[in-house]
Structures are given as structure tokens and as C-alpha cells.
């Protein structure tokens, strides 16, 4: 049991690891807590916004208890989205597995420790996403005292559902990846497809449940059948229905028990099965000579497309932007309603579109994990006759090249669809690109200071590193805050706000780039 506990702590640390490799022990320990705090904060933020806004709407419709149904569904599916790559990285493709299996430990113990770590992360996300729903409900209607102890039982059970789904998906992807000579691009396409299906399901389930609230006679639908466990959550919390608790226990515990047993007993076979080799293709000679800068950029692209977790986590923003713009092009009927709403609010459509593009792109940051992803291979770049600035340029350029096509497509479509002023027509391209530069610079600086070269897997770097939290979530929060400030300033200076925004981003870009050129380069040299 003692060994199991120690293994669990190590695995959880790996899952949450995001500390600097030059950090002292005390600082690392603090960082683990900080990571837990950030996860909790993120859960509270999403859960709080959803719970309170839905409680207000449902209270007016007289169906307040639906808050628990929808929130439990969102908590499970979003925690699944957050842990699925972790499950893949820490269980099926972790670097430490072979070492752990060489120790006098049962494979089942190793597997169980990894599994509990994944469950632990899901538990934290579920708890903090669901907790606000209790308060949101209580704001309008008192809950029975039993709801609070039963809430704890529900919170222990719900993450089991996301853990089971994450294990199945993680296993399937690892299996496909190791068994076939599938190009990373195809693998990335598959992963994107799976995420798309999952998101589609989330939105469909949400809209069906909302529809049910508005029109109760439209029940039941097939999607609602899949949402049955979430209705049990409502029955448990509101009616203290112990039978529903039993159902939820069975639905959560039995699949997890079954899959844990299957994976534990077959863990050795599974890990061994991941390293099957296929026949080599014939070598067709070297490629044409390129400049060192092009070679560095090509390497960055290969790394980007060859590391599914890196690709998936940073392509969402540009894809949503491009997909959304193309969708609007074919659904022009939505435009009139959109413009009418904006007229009532009194904000010019151009400003809203620019703000939306910048917000969507603010989470896309390839530079934030880029140095950490070099890992133990950093010696290659450092020993080559290229300047440090060239290495950093290649990392920044990758971010810009990925984002720019999406900005151009969205900008052209917006220029075609909306009646914009001349300055808006230009700024719709310029401001998002400038904002992307700023975001890329911040991500790179964050990674220079919080480098993690010894992460257990690429997933740990891309998903849970401090630089990524700063470079993606931090930049997103700062962008939203900035947009609010600009919105407030608009009352006083009118549409000149675009010039202010341009000036702000330009100055930020110059200052940050200058910082990278000087202190950033010096910092990179210290990383070992």
C-alpha cells in the first residue's frame, strides 16, 4: 500500500508536472500545488459561469433542477477532453513505464498507480466544475441537507465515467499509432475528428436538454438516453433518491472496475504490443540543400505535425476561426440577426469581429511548450553552428505560419460579408497578426523561464506545463481583460479605439521582441 501511494504521488506529479528543470525541490513542490490550484481555478471559472447563468435562465422557466443535469454532463465531457491526452501519455506512452516494470513491482500496481493519477485529475476538474452548481441552485431554491453529503458521493463517481472513456480512447490511439505506419498527419486528423465528434455531442446534448426544458413534450430523444446518468445526479441531489445513487454507482464503478482489471492483467502485453516494428522502406537519397533557417523551420514543422498532442492542443484556435468564417459564408441568414443584435448593443460589427478573432487565437500558442519539447535533444540545437536567435525565430515563425492563413481567410470573408469601415477592413488582418506575435513572444519568454526538459512525456509539457498555462490561459485572460478595457475606453474616444489597440500591440510586440533578443537569448544559453 505504501509503494502504491508513493507510485501514485509520482504519477500525479508527472501528470501535473510543469516545474522548471533548474528549480529547487521546494519550488517544485510549490509548483505542484500551484498547478492543482490552477486546475481548480479553471474548473471554478467554467463551472461558475455556466452554473449561475443557467440557474438564472432555468429559474425563470421553472426548471431550476436542470442545472445539475447539464452541469454534470459538461463536467464529465470537459474533464474527458482534458484528461484523454494525459491518459494516453502517462499510461500507454510514458517514458517511465519500462523503468517501473523493471522494478520488483507487480505490473498491476504500476497500472493502478497510473490509473488513479488520471482519475485524480478528473476528480479535481469535476469537483470544481460541479461545486458552483450547488450555490447557483441554492441562490433561488433551498437544497435538502442531504444534497451536500450526496454531492461528495456523486463527485467521486462522475470522474470514473470520464476516466473510463479516456482510457478507451487513449488505448485506441496508442494502439493504432504503434501498429500502423500511419503518418502523424493522419493520426492528427483522427484525433481532431474524435474531438470534433465529442464537441458535437456536448453541444447536441446541451441543446437537446435546453430544448427539453423549453418544450417538455419533445421528450425523449436518443441523445437524452445517453444523458441518463446526469438525470440521476439531479434526482440524487434534489430528491435524495438513493436508488439513482445506486444506478450511478453501478454505471460508474462497474465499467471502471472492468477496464482496470482488463488493463491491469494485460498491462505487460499492452505495453509490449505498443512497440511492434514494421518493415523498413527503401532509402531514396538525401533531399535538396536548404538554408539553415529553412532547415530549422522544417524541423519545427516536423515536430509540430509529428507530435499529435502538440498539434491538437494548438490547432483548435485557427481551425475554429477558419471553420467559423466558412460556416458564416454559407449561412448568411444568420448575419442579419447578428448585426441587429449588435445595433441594439451599440458596438460596430467590425470591432466585435476583430475582438472575436483575437480572442479565439489567444489560446493558440505553439511557442509556450516549444523549448521544453526539445527535452534531452536540446544538445543538438546547441551544438550546431546557428545563432540562438535563429533557433528562437524558427519557433516564433512556426506560430505565425500556422495562424496567418486562418486570419487571412477569416479577414477576407468578413470583408466580403460585412459593411466595414476602411480602417476596420485593414485592422481585421493587422491586429490579429500583431496579437499573435505578442502571444507567441509571451509564450516563448514563459518557456525560457519555465523550461521542463525532463518531462515524462510530450503530453505533460503541452498540457500541464507552467509556460503553457502562462502562454495560453494567461494570454487568453489578459486578452479578455484588455478587450474589456478597450470596450470601456470606447465610451470616451469612440472608434479611434482601433488605433489605440494597434499602438498597444505594436509597442508590446517591439518591447517583447527586444527582450527575447537580449535577455531571452542569454537565458536560452543557460538552459541545460
Amino acid at each position: 500500500m505504501k509503494v502504491m501511494r508513493k507510485l501514485f504521488i509520482i504519477q500525479l506529479k508527472q501528470l501535473l508536472s510543469f516545474t522548471s528543470n533548474v528549480g529547487r525541490k521546494k519550488r517544485q513542490s510549490r509548483s505542484i500545488w500551484l498547478m492543482l490550484l490552477l486546475l481548480a481555478g479553471l474548473g471554478l471559472y467554467i463551472g461558475g459561469i455556466y452554473s449561475f447563468s443557467m440557474a438564472q435562465a432555468f429559474h425563470m422557466l421553472g426548471t431550476l433542477d436542470r442545472v445539475f443535469v447539464i452541469m454534470s454532463g459538461i463536467a464529465v465531457l470537459l474533464s474527458l477532453l482534458m484528461i484523454v491526452m494525459g491518459a494516453n501519455g502517462i499510461i500507454f506512452q510514458a517514458k517511465d513505464t519500462i523503468f517501473l516494470l523493471s522494478l520488483p513491482l507487480q505490473p498491476q500496481t504500476v497500472m493502478a498507480a497510473k490509473l488513479v493519477a488520471v482519475y485524480g485529475e478528473a476528480l479535481i476538474i469535476n469537483f470544481f466544475m460541479m461545486a458552483p452548481s450547488l450555490f447557483a441552485y441554492s441562490r433561488y431554491q433551498a437544497l435538502p441537507w442531504t444534497a451536500y453529503p450526496l454531492f461528495l458521493a456523486v463527485i467521486l463517481l462522475l470522474p470514473m465515467i470520464s476516466t473510463v472513456l479516456a482510457l478507451i480512447l487513449g488505448y485506441l490511439f496508442s494502439r493504432i499509432q504503434s501498429r500502423t505506419k500511419m503518418s502523424p498527419m493522419v493520426m492528427n486528423g483522427l484525433l481532431l475528428g474524435a474531438m470534433g465528434v465529442l464537441l458535437f455531442f456536448v453541444f447536441q446534448m446541451q441543446s437537446v436538454m435546453m430544448g427539453e426544458t423549453l418544450a417538455p413534450t419533445s421528450l425523449p430523444s436518443r441523445l437524452l438516453f445517453l444523458a441518463t446518468p446526469f438525470y440521476w445526479v439531479r434526482d440524487i441531489l434534489v430528491d435524495a433518491d438513493l436508488l439513482s445513487l445506486l444506478y450511478l454507482t453501478v454505471v460508474s464503478l462497474i465499467p471502471l472496475g472492468l477496464i482496470s482489471w482488463l488493463l491491469s492483467t494485460r498491462f505487460l502485453d499492452i505495453i509490449s504490443g505498443m512497440s511492434i516494428r514494421t518493415k523498413s522502406e527503401e532509402y531514396r537519397g538525401p533531399s535538396k540543400r536548404k538554408t539553415p533557417m529553412k532547415a530549422l523551420l522544417r524541423k519545427e514543422f516536423k515536430q509540430y505535425f509529428g507530435t499529435p498532442t502538440y498539434f491538437i492542443n494548438t490547432i483548435i484556435g485557427p481551425l475554429i476561426l477558419m471553420g467559423g468564417a466558412i460556416f458564416l459564408l454559407f449561412q448568411q441568414s444568420m448575419l442579419a440577426e447578428f448585426e441587429y443584435t449588435l445595433q441594439i448593443v451599440g458596438i460596430p460589427v467590425g470591432l466585435i469581429i476583430i475582438a472575436a478573432i483575437i480572442s479565439v487565437l489567444s489560446v493558440n500558442n505553439t511557442t509556450a511548450p516549444s523549448i521544453s519539447l526539445e527535452g534531452s535533444r536540446l544538445w543538438i540545437l546547441k551544438s550546431l553552428p546557428v545563432t540562438t536567435l535563429s533557433i528562437l525565430h524558427a519557433k516564433i515563425l512556426l506560430n505565425l505560419i500556422i495562424v496567418t492563413p486562418a486570419v487571412i481567410v477569416a479577414g477576407i470573408i468578413a470583408n466580403y460579408l460585412f459593411d466595414l469601415s476602411m480602417i476596420e477592413r485593414v485592422m481585421i488582418f493587422v491586429l490579429p497578426i500583431l496579437a499573435t506575435c505578442v502571444s507567441a513572444f509571451i509564450g516563448l519568454i514563459a518557456n525560457l523561464f519555465y523550461t521542463k526538459l525532463d518531462a515524462p512525456s510530450d503530453t505533460a509539457v503541452v498540457k500541464n506545463s507552467a509556460s503553457v498555462i502562462i502562454g495560453s490561459l494567461g494570454v487568453m485572460m489578459a486578452t479578455i481583460l484588455l478587450l474589456f478595457v478597450l470596450y470601456w475606453l470606447r465610451k470616451y474616444i469612440g472608434d479611434n479605439i482601433l488605433y489605440i489597440a494597434f499602438g498597444f500591440y505594436l509597442i508590446m510586440a517591439i518591447v517583447l521582441y527586444q527582450y527575447i533578443r537580449t535577455k531571452g537569448v542569454a537565458k536560452f544559453k543557460q538552459i541545460i
Binding site: 523498413s280 527503401e282 538554408t291 509529428g306 544538445w379 550546431l384 553552428p385 541545460i528
Partner: protein, 238 residues
């Protein structure tokens, strides 16, 4: 070829290397020997321009590594003790990347890749991803990447670990070729028999200080390198 004067490196409060002086002449193959943690890897990494240092100077071919690192790196090659390579690239893509950075002509790179890949017997694996390579194959690919631009100074950390006997013999031959062509080689090793057999000179480092440097034949006239090493290990560093 290589001139190290008063080289000093700290890791925080820990003094890893203390005022080390080491000279390697052109045409010389030098074995760098010492205990684990004696400062061999630290020194090699600083010579390769991978690791900053606190004091002293390192000159390669008359150029100070701190003043013009790009010029120095264009004539050196370094291989660490555990050469992790880009697993998302194929072996061929890795060699193309290195060739591009060193600006090798198409014909030159083609000839060298074929030559070295055939010698190290990994030509048929060049189209595979590095992630599918064994430790020894990665070692061989790293060696090809180091040899491909024909460096003047080769720096290797435990190069023979993980290599099969044929590859190890080929590597010894290539290292000798570099020296015969006016270059130099500095490599760390724990295999003292190999060091005694192939090195022109031996440098022994202990607790961050160079305790012996001399011609192998002269040093080993009366006793074996192993005896010298054991004797030095038991004595105190002054």
C-alpha cells in the same frame, strides 16, 4: 587545435571544474578519463558550446568559443553519452537537417551519407523514424551526423558504449582519419584498455582538476593505465 586555460565551472555552490588547463595539438587523439562526476562531461559540453562557464578561456583553432561560437561550432562535432535524437524525424531527415545547417552540397551529402550509413550498417533503416531505432542505432545515426561535415575537432562522451564491435572498430578508424588529416579528437571513456590502445595522449581529471596529461606510451611505460588511474584515485588532489 584546442586550448583550455583556467576553465572553471560551478553548478550553484558546487565547484564542478576548477581552473582546468588542457591543450590538444592537431593530429592528436586524446582520452579524457576520470571518475563519475569528475567533470569530464561538463568540460566536453563547454568545449562544444553547449554549456556556459564561469572562468577561463576555451579556444578552438585560435577562436574563443565565447567570442565567436558559430565559427567554433562550424568546425567541431559533439556527441553526448546518451544521444537522444529527434524521434519525429526519419534517420534520413535527421541527416538532411544536419547537412542543411552545415550547408553541405547535395553531391557531398549524398556521398557521405551513403558512405557512413553503409559502414555503420544503418542504410536500410534511414527511411524509418528515429523513434523505432534501438539505442545502438541512435548512437550510429548521431555519429554519422557528427562525421558528415568532417569536423576539425571531434568531442565525444563515452562514444563506444552501445556500439557493436564492428561499428566500434569503424569509429576508431574514422577518429584516426580525423587526426591523420590534421584534426583532433577528445573523448571521455571508462574503458581504460581502449583508451590505452588507441589514444595518443591521456588526460586524467579528478574532482574537477586535471591531475595528469601526457603521451600514452610514456605514461604506460612502467605500469598500465588502469594502475595509474587506481593509484591517482587513491591519492588526494592538491
Amino acid at each position: 587545435m584546442l586550448k583550455i586555460e583556467n576553465y572553471t565551472k560551478h553548478y550553484g555552490d558546487f565547484l564542478a571544474v576548477d581552473k582546468l588547463n588542457l591543450h590538444v595539438k592537431p593530429g592528436t587523439l586524446v582520452g579524457f578519463i576520470g571518475h563519475n562526476g569528475a567533470g569530464k562531461t561538463t568540460t566536453l559540453r563547454s568545449i562544444a558550446g553547449i554549456l556556459d562557464f564561469d572562468g577561463g578561456t576555451i579556444e578552438i583553432n585560435g577562436t574563443d568559443i565565447e567570442k565567436d561560437p558559430i565559427r567554433v561550432k562550424s568546425v567541431t562535432a559533439f556527441i553526448p553519452d546518451n544521444p537522444e535524437l529527434y524521434e519525429f524525424l526519419t534517420g534520413a531527415e535527421y541527416l538532411d537537417f544536419i547537412s542543411d545547417v552545415y550547408q553541405l552540397d547535395d553531391a557531398v551529402r549524398q556521398e557521405r551519407i551513403h558512405r557512413y550509413a553503409r559502414t555503420f550498417e544503418i542504410e536500410s533503416n534511414l527511411s524509418d523514424r528515429v523513434s523505432s531505432y534501438s539505442h545502438g542505432m541512435k548512437q550510429k545515426l548521431a555519429l554519422i551526423g557528427a562525421l558528415i561535415h568532417e569536423p576539425k575537432l571531434m568531442l565525444l562522451d563515452e562514444p563506444f558504449v552501445g556500439l557493436d564491435p564492428i561499428a566500434a572498430r569503424s569509429l576508431r578508424g574514422y577518429l584516426r582519419d580525423i587526426c591523420d588529416n590534421g584534426g583532433a579528437v577528445l573523448f571521455s571513456t571508462h574503458v581504460l584498455e581502449v583508451a590505452q590502445k588507441i589514444c595518443d595522449e591521456i588526460a586524467i581529471i579528478k574532482k574537477g582538476k586535471l591531475v595528469v596529461q601526457g603521451v600514452t606510451e610514456e605514461l604506460t611505460q612502467k605500469e598500465s593505465l588502469e594502475d595509474i588511474f587506481v593509484e591517482l584515485s587513491q591519492s588526494e588532489v592538491v
